[in-house]
Symmetry: C2
Subunit: 163 residues, 2 copies
DNA sequence: ATGCTTGCAAAACGTTTGCACAGGG
DNA sequence: CCCTGTGCAAACGTTTTGCAAGCAT
């Protein structure tokens, strides 16, 4: 489920995925291999369609539905993490290697800055304790202006929504 | 834009909305009045369709498009706040009265527990300072098991994403 | 050989847009 | 009265599902 922090190579991750599927009685098929390969070659935050494009570029014929059906498996296996920004489509990022982190999204240039979450995790635990809640995961996102954009013009001209 | 913390009654909020619209050169129409009335009668976290249902129940004929076109106005006016959980559709909550807060979502029973965000805001500022980021808003959400559900069975049986 | 898995197409879903008509300032 | 706002329906983009055929175990 988790604990892929020490696995880095494609081979190790394919093997981990295969074992995850097997212990669930799910097959490690060609399409799923191709999708995992594509996913490992993508960086940062990508969406389902980018996987499709990459597969098409490689001349691999994998259906859109198969990609959408495989993504939850990759998330459950601990290889991917679903990240939701304030848009309708889901984004994903690698969940192996690198510790957990959170995101700041620049409202003007859409740049995404990542930052470590030790303090965030500590706060999660403190709050959870106060409310008798058992935390499984957290999501912490800052929206604002990145350094460059706020230097250019610190006035927040864009309204929160619309227009 | 903001500063509706002291307004509570429907009349005050209608007046605030009317002024907000006027200073933008937008009309305070019958449909928008009905939508605001419906929105004020809803509690907690609701989605666009719930507003439509409520209006239909009241025998008011307001189009879906009008509701979707009015929601951003209500958000910009500071009456509503858009809240995004890990689902595709947007949710909204009252933004007047009550200070800012964040949410814990129970993975098993979907209950939403709110908690104050003073510490979260402080952490936002600290992190923003470290990364030279100008924060406009934050979003902090905990996913896990609420007190009742974790009492029943603390084992996290449900996978992060379905089946 | 069996039945999970696939690709395709079509449906579903929340949201947006185009349009002719209605209604507010 | 003019121009914005409205309701309807159709379009939209993402995700899901039904199905016959394919393929891993």
């Amino acid at each position: 489920m988790a604990g892929l922090a020490n696995l880095h190579t494609p081979d190790e991750l394919h093997e981990a995925f295969r074992q995850f599927l097997r212990q669930r009685g799910i097959k490690y098929t060609g399409a799923r291999k191709k999708i995992l390969d594509a996913v490992l070659d993508l960086t940062d935050h990508f969406e389902a369609e980018q996987i499709l494009y990459l597969l098409k570029d490689r001349g691999l014929n994998v259906g859109k539905a198969t990609v959408y059906r495989t993504l939850p498996l990759l998330v459950d296996s601990g290889i991917l993490k679903q990240v939701r920004f304030d848009v309708k489509q889901a984004h994903y990022e690698h969940a192996f290697g690198e510790g957990p982190h959170d995101h700041m999204v620049c409202r003007r240039c859409s740049r995404i800055v990542e930052f470590g979450s030790e303090e965030v995790v500590a706060l999660c635990e403190k709050i959870a304790r106060q409310h008798h809640f058992h935390v499984i995961s957290h999501r912490f996102q800052l929206t604002g202006l990145c350094w460059e954009c706020s230097t250019q013009c610190p006035v927040v001209a864009l309204p929160p929504s619309g227009e």
